[in-house]
Every structure is written in structure tokens, then in C-alpha cells.
């Protein structure tokens, strides 16, 4: 570590660009750590700045990396608002003491209770559903009403899904663990593994294209990748979607599994008011519409329309499981995948 010490003067000189903690002249800005990499977000931040005069400074990186960074930065962290795309990670951030509770009537009114932390540590901004995408020519929608349908023998060699490394697979299985316990969840993971059309590889979009190509007949995929494919202008994707349709499976008596992209105010926030303003802006009508239209996510705010390309496949009835459960059961889910041999 000696070289590091030599560098200290140099490092201090660099300071923290864009996050100078100048307490005497409170800058109108808010510092965001985000897992989301979408153009819609950039547009929203721009609109927020235009409407309020508050500048948005952004660092984008993966959830766990961002959490580790906040943890190491401690009380000095410049972060005001943490945005992730997994409720589990938000729950973890709370447990690790990185977030602070916020009371906001605006937020509480516009976000259904099951999509936010009961104490106000974090709030869901959008929903993503884990849905089935099937080949219209080979599958009837009645065959696909429950996640459990896919472990039946008739689906042997026909199921396409990403690797267990994928976060949304993990949270889907975590939800099953929360509802039915580990044994049922393991049986499901094992059943899917047996029925896979190929060893898991590629992205969600790749699974959809593979269904269109007949490599398998049904894919488990994230709703907003489905929405993007359905509205893509690329010729291969336009061709592929002709054969595809979406089903919204139930998890037993519960609805379709959803996870949220959400945000929480950092414990160390130096721009508290600005952070809350940004949060409220993000659940406002305008922002929610853009999430829905631009990024094909499900808005959390009641009354905002879902993107047409998704709406025409049917209504989403989300599972209202306490989302904190996803984080609590994530490690269990990963271990079950390993036991099931789902790579």
C-alpha cells in the first residue's frame, strides 16, 4: 500500500468532481448512484433539471458494486439517491444501514404499499414481470397459466431460459421460496432444468429470438425485454415477433412474479430535499409515462397506461409478495439453482 500513500497529495488535489461538499453555499444538485443504464433515465433527469433547476450528477454501475462503494465511502459518501433494479438489493441496502427513512405523502399516495418499504427506506419506481413468451404456432395459451406448468413432461426439451447467474431468475426462485418453501422451489428449478431446450446462455432477447426460430417453444423472460423486442425497428427482431406471444403465469394462488426498479435516499445524503424532490418527480405522471412508453416497464403509479405492445397481450396481475422477501431469499435461491444443476 506504500505507493498509495505517495499519491495522497495528488488524490486530494483531484477532489471529488461534481460532488464538492460545499456546505456554506448549498448547491442545487443531487448525486445519484444508479444501476439503470437507460436513455429514458437520461431524458428524465434532463426534464427534472429543466423543471427544478437541480442538477443531477450520475454514477452508473452494477447494484452490488454500488452498494460496496457506498459502504466503503461511509459517512463521507457523496451519494444522495440510490437507484437499483432489484428490490432485493434495496432491502439489503437498508439492512446494511445505507438508506434513511423518508416520509412523503406524495410517494405514499402514488405507490401501492407492496411496492415500497413500509418504513420509507425505499420506493419502487417501475415493475418488471417475469413472463412466458411462446411460439404462437406451437403453443396454446391455456397451457401456460402457472409457472409450474413448465415442469410438466410435455415441455421436455422445449424451455428456454437464461443462466442462474441472471438476477431475475434468482428473484423468481426467491419468491417461490418465500411462498412455498425450499423444497417446492427446488423441485421447480430441477423440473425446468430437465425440460430445457439447451444449456442456458445468452441474453433474455436471445431466448426470445430462439423461440421465434423454433429452438424451443417457450421462454422465461423479463417483460421489458419483450416490450423492446416487440417495438424494435431492427429487421430480424421485427420478423421474429410475428411468431411470438406473451403469457402472464401465476405463481399458484398468487399473481405474476414482479421485481421492481426502485430508489432509496442514502443515509449520508447531503442534498436531502433535492433527493426527495427527484424521487417524487420519478413517480409523477410524466415520468411514469416515459418509463412505460420509452422503456416498456410497468408503471407503479395507478392510472398510468402500460405500453401498448405489452397491453395487447393481456393484463398483468402482480404477485403482491413483500418484496423484501426477494432479498432475504436470494442466497437460498442461488444455492437451489446450484443443487438443481441449473448453470
Amino acid at each position: 500500500m506504500r505507493p498509495l500513500l505517495l499519491l495522497l497529495p495528488f488524490l486530494s488535489a483531484c477532489g471529488t468532481p461534481g460532488a464538492a461538499p460545499t456546505d456554506d453555499t448549498p448547491a442545487k444538485e443531487v448525486n445519484v448512484y444508479s444501476h439503470r443504464h437507460y436513455d429514458t433515465d437520461a431524458q428524465l433527469f434532463k426534464a427534472f433539471t429543466a423543471a427544478t433547476g437541480i442538477r443531477v450528477n450520475l454514477v452508473m454501475a452494477d447494484d452490488d458494486e454500488v452498494l460496496t462503494r457506498m459502504e466503503q465511502e461511509g459517512a463521507n459518501s457523496p451519494c444522495d439517491l440510490l437507484i437499483t433494479s432489484d428490490a432485493g438489493r434495496l432491502g439489503q441496502a437498508r439492512m446494511r444501514g445505507l438508506l434513511q427513512p423518508i416520509r412523503s405523502a406524495e410517494l405514499e399516495r402514488n405507490i401501492p404499499p407492496f411496492l415500497r418499504d413500509p418504513d420509507g427506506h425505499w420506493f419502487g419506481l417501475t415493475m418488471r414481470a417475469r413472463v412466458f413468451v411462446y411460439n404462437k404456432n406451437k403453443v396454446r395459451p391455456e397451457q401456460l397459466t402457472d409457472y409450474n406448468d413448465l415442469v410438466r413432461p410435455e415441455w421436455k426439451g422445449r424451455v428456454l431460459v437464461r443462466s442462474a447467474e441472471n438476477l431475475y431468475n434468482q428473484s423468481l426462485l426467491a419468491a417461490m421460496v418465500a411462498h412455498f418453501g425450499t423444497e417446492t422451489a427446488l423441485a421447480w428449478a430441477t423440473g425446468i432444468t430437465v425440460n430445457m431446450a439447451r444449456t442456458p446462455k445468452g441474453s433474455d432477447t436471445d431466448q426470445l429470438l430462439a423461440v421465434a426460430e423454433g429452438i424451443g417453444d417457450v421462454a422465461i423472460a423479463n417483460s421489458y425485454y419483450v416490450g423492446k423486442l416487440m417495438s424494435s425497428s431492427e429487421p430480424e427482431k421485427a420478423k421474429a415477433r410475428e411468431n411470438l406471444a406473451v403469457a402472464f403465469p401465476h405463481m399458484g394462488p398468487y399473481g405474476t412474479h414482479v421485481n421492481v426498479s426502485g430508489a432509496g435516499v442514502a443515509k449520508s445524503a447531503k442534498h436531502l430535499a433535492e433527493a426527495i424532490a427527484l424521487l417524487e418527480f420519478l413517480v409523477g405522471e410524466e415520468a411514469q409515462r416515459l418509463f412505460a412508453e420509452g422503456n416498456k416497464e410497468y408503471p407503479v403509479r395507478p392510472g398510468v397506461a402500460v405500453a401498448d405492445v405489452l397491453q395487447r397481450f393481456g393484463e398483468l396481475t402482480p404477485d403482491t409478495l413483500d418484496l423484501a422477501q426477494l432479498g432475504l431469499n436470494n442466497a437460498t435461491a442461488v444455492k437451489l439453482f446450484d443443487k438443481a444443476g441449473w448453470r
Binding site: H37, Q72, G202, D206, V334
Partner: protein
């Protein structure tokens, strides 16, 4: 580095028994398969191409000699994505082949990844092998000719064994690059030690187990380095530095040589780069170019800064290695260079932990994390090996008599280093700086995690697009990465070519 090594011993690792029993065996197995396959294939492609170019004249040889280094300009993950978009089960070319023949090619998998990686990484072997073939072995090769050995026998029985230290050196770099890759292996569905690190860390939320797996990774690297050292022992490298007289190939053999080189060049560079070019200019939006240009500026900035800083520290290390000949210095230098094989994200965690500790101990009112300075320091940790290697190589060629002579004239070690050693190191310093800059431009995870607010580089741009599965939008910044890397790469090639005569 120190943090990565020591942390596991006191960090709790609640899921270790699961990781050890259910994760490690398969991940270790696939790591070894991937590593073995990739290294073997890079050696075959690199050594064979180097031999053709160094020992024979054939049509297009002059162009092939330098063009065969071009694949190094492509970051592995970009090439892997591009190949998947062409030859994956639903890739453009696979679909076309499927329509024509009913057969569906699918490159996405272990064998495919081995091929893709080897096609990008083989120049690490090609370059040193070419240098040795072209100028280090003339006498032995001519002696073999006079003993009746034809081309293939001279190649297999004389050139390859004599170039072994150089080849192994390149192969070790390939192995390290293979080990630290995360993007490509994840996309191709391969389970490696690096994915095991992430599985423990992000999936199981068990940083302790993740660091233990990282230690295993380091052990593997130590093993590789030991192998490299062993190949250098008991073998005095022939150093007659006389350029080889090339044999002219004609007819079918000349055509075969040209075709081989073209095939390697096309599949290693022209095809993926061409696909990127096509995507970059057929995408229906141009508003991202402005962002990409700022990212380009940032990329060049940190590459320059990191090269400078890394060089300073590397020079300091080789200085104490030269003038402080104790066993601990060797240990220090070797430990300091292990960073190259560690996945960037692991180094990022280590660096953040260290910086966080300093923040708290020094009672700073701000955090070092997220400063450009810390980012540059992290690059130094990661790429020190890249800078130390050429410097050390060049320094060991400087005879220690010269140092002794200078000392007899009353110069202190510092003065000797500055006035005697350093001027002779100039070409090596330049080469080392270029190598570091190339690596920084291509690097992803460190930049992603440690960057300041509103700071994009080309590789973070590529990642952000690829992450949301918009691979076409990723083409423009990917192409800019290639363009950034080309000048230093070609400079390195020229420098090497000059020494080959």
C-alpha cells in the same frame, strides 16, 4: 492487492461450504478447460503465423506481418458479443445457413468461446514468437538446414523449442486475460472461477467466499508464473540478433501461407470489426455520437494518466530490483504484478476497501472513492505487470558491469539509475506506456465502479448499451475503442519489427 490477499482470512464467509461443495468443482473444471483450450489454440495460431511470416516470403507477407497484431485492438467481450450476433443460434449468419441447409451453427458455448478468445488473444504469442524467430535463431536454423532438416522439421524441432520461453511468456498473458474475463464467459454460459467470484458476491451476498475464490484464482496465476519461470531456467537464450534469411515460397505452398494468414486476420479482426462498422453506420440514431466523443476524450485522458502513473511506479520497482538485490524485492515485485490476472471488479473492491480505511483513519471530510486519482491508482494495481515486464526485460539486458563502472566513478545507485540505466530504457519505457494505455482503454469493471460522477469512457458506453441488450448501439463506442488502440498497437509492432531487422 494486499487487501485482496489478507481480507479472506478474517472476513466471514457464511456460504463457504456451499461454494466449496456445489460451486467450485464445476467452475474449476470449466476454467481449466477454457484455459487449456484457449492457451493451446493461441499457441498454435500465434506460433504458426509467426513462423510463416518470419521464415518465408509469400504474397502479402509484408502486410500480414503487421496486420496480424490487429486483433489485439478488440476487447475480448466485444469480439465475443459480435461473434454471437453472427454465429449464435439466432445470429445473422447462422440464420442464413439454417435457411440454406437446415443446419444451425451455434458458436455460443465452451468450444466456441475458446475459438473466439484465441482469435483475439493470439497476438500475445505471435509477437514475441515472431521476434525470436526473425532474429534470435538464425545460426541454429541454418545448422539444422545443413543437417538436412526441411521446413517443418526445423520449425518443430528447432524453432519452437528454442522460442519456448518467449512463447510461454505470451501464453501466460493469454491465460491471465482468459482468467479475468467476465463479460464473455457470462454471455457464453461458461462457469469459471471469475463467475464463481461474482456468484458468491452478488448471488449469495457473501463477499468473504468471493474473496476466497479470488485467492484460488491467484494461486492458479502463481502456478502459471512458476511455469513461465521454469521454462526460462536452464536455457540460455540464443541472442545472435542476426536477421533470418527468408525462404521464398512458390505455387501451392505460397498460396497456402497467404490463405492461412488471411483466414486468421479476417476471423480475428476484419470480420468482427467489419460487423461493428456496419452496425455503427446503419443504426438509425446519431444523437449518441456527441456522448461518445466526450467518452473518447475521457478515455484518452485516463489512459494517459494511468500510463504515466503506472510507469512511475514500475520504474521505482525495477530500480529497487536492480540496486537492492535482496530476495524480498523479488517477492515484492512478483506480488505487485499479480493484479493482472485478477478480475477488475475484485481489484475495485480491494481498492475501495483500502481507500475507505484511509478515509476513516485520516478523518477526511470527503472520500477518496470516486476520485480520478483513485481510479488511476486502481489501474496501476491492475496493470503494473504489463509495465514491469518490458522494463525488467530491457534492464536485465544491460550489463551490470556498466553499473559497477559508474559506481567506481562515485555515482550513487539513484544517480546510476537516472543517468546510466534510464536512458537505455527509453524504448522499453515507451513500449510499456503503450501497453498500459491499450489495456486501460479496453478495461471495463474498474472504470465502471470507481468512476466519478457523470464520467463515461468508451468501454462504459459499450457496457451500458450491451447491458440493456442494445448491441447495435454499442457498435459506435466499440469502434472508437478499436481506433484508440490501433496507433499504440502499430507503434509497438514497428518498434519490435525494427529490432527484428
Amino acid at each position: 492487492m494486499v487487501v485482496v490477499v489478507t481480507a479472506p482470512f478474517h472476513a466471514p464467509a457464511p456460504e463457504w461450504s456451499h461454494v466449496y461443495r456445489d460451486v467450485l468443482p464445476m467452475h474449476l473444471l470449466e476454467t481449466i478447460l477454457l484455459l487449456g483450450g484457449t492457451v493451446l489454440l493461441t499457441v498454435v495460431i500465434g506460433v504458426l503465423s509467426a513462423w510463416l511470416v518470419a521464415a518465408y516470403s509469400f504474397p502479402l507477407r509484408g502486410a500480414m506481418r503487421w496486420m496480424l497484431v490487429l486483433p489485439l485492438a478488440l476487447p475480448t467481450y466485444i469480439s465475443a458479443y459480435t461473434y454471437a450476433s453472427l454465429f449464435g443460434a439466432t445470429g445473422t449468419i447462422s440464420l442464413w445457413v439454417h435457411d440454406l441447409s437446415g443446419f444451425r451453427p451455434d458458436i455460443v458455448g465452451l468450444p466456441g468461446l475458446i475459438v473466439v478468445m484465441a482469435l483475439v488473444l493470439f497476438p500475445y504469442v505471435y509477437l514475441p514468437a515472431r521476434a525470436v524467430f526473425a532474429s534470435g535463431l538464425r545460426e541454429q536454423l541454418e545448422a539444422a538446414r545443413m543437417l538436412g532438416a526441411r521446413g517443418s522439421r526445423r520449425f518443430l524441432r528447432v524453432a519452437v523449442p528454442l522460442a519456448r520461453p518467449a512463447i510461454v511468456g505470451g501464453a501466460v498473458l493469454v491465460a491471465m486475460e482468459t482468467l479475468n474475463d467476465y463479460g464473455a464467459v457470462k454471455y457464453y454460459g461458461i462457469r469459471t472461477l471469475t463467475t464463481a467470484v461474482f456468484r458468491s458476491w452478488t448471488g449469495l451476498s457473501d463477499l468473504g467466499s468471493a474473496l476466497r475464490v479470488a485467492i484460488l484464482l491467484l494461486l492458479l496465476v502463481v502456478l502459471l508464473l512458476w511455469w513461465e519461470r521454469r521454462s526460462r531456467i536452464h536455457r540460455q537464450q540464443a541472442t545472435d540478433a542476426v536477421p533470418m534469411v527468408r525462404q521464398r515460397l512458390t505455387g501451392k505452398r505460397a498460396a497456402l501461407a497467404t490463405i492461412w494468414c488471411l483466414l486468421v486476420l479476417v476471423s480475428g479482426f476484419l470480420l468482427p470489426a467489419g460487423k461493428l462498422l456496419l452496425d455503427a453506420f446503419t443504426i438509425d440514431r446519431t444523437d449518441t455520437w456527441a456522448i461518445d466523443l466526450i467518452a473518447l476524450r475521457n478515455t484518452l485522458g485516463i489512459a494517459t494518466g494511468a500510463a504515466f502513473l503506472t510507469l512511475l511506479i514500475a520504474l521505482f520497482l525495477v530500480f529497487i530490483l536492480r540496486h537492492e538485490r535482496k530476495s524480498w524485492t523479488h517477492g515484492l515485485v512478483r506480488a505487485a504484478t499479480l493484479g493482472y490476472a485478477v478480475p477488475g471488479a475484485v481489484i475495485a473492491v480491494g481498492v475501495m476497501t483500502a481507500a475507505g480505511t484511509i478515509d476513516r483513519q485520516a478523518g477526511l471530510s470527503f472520500t477518496l472513492i470516486g476520485t480520478i486519482g483513485l481510479l488511476l491508482y486502481a489501474f496501476t494495481v491492475r496493470f503494473l505487470a504489463v509495465a514491469v515486464q518490458p522494463l525488467q526485460g530491457s534492464l536485465t539486458r544491460q550489463h551490470s558491469n556498466v553499473d559497477d563502472a559508474a559506481r567506481m566513478l562515485g555515482a550513487s545507485p539513484g544517480r546510476i539509475f537516472l543517468r546510466v540505466n534510464l536512458p537505455q530504457l527509453r524504448p522499453a519505457i515507451l513500449a510499456a506506456a503503450m501497453l498500459v494505455a491499450i489495456d486501460v482503454v479496453k478495461e471495463l469493471p474498474l472504470t465502471l465502479i470507481l468512476r466519478p460522477f457523470n464520467f463515461n469512457t468508451l468501454s462504459t458506453r459499450v457496457f451500458e448499451m450491451a447491458r440493456i441488450e442494445q448491441l447495435r448501439e454499442a457498435a459506435a463506442p466499440a469502434l472508437l475503442i478499436v481506433l484508440c488502440v490501433l496507433p499504440p498497437l502499430l507503434f509497438l509492432d514497428r518498434q519490435l519489427a525494427r529490432s527484428e531487422g
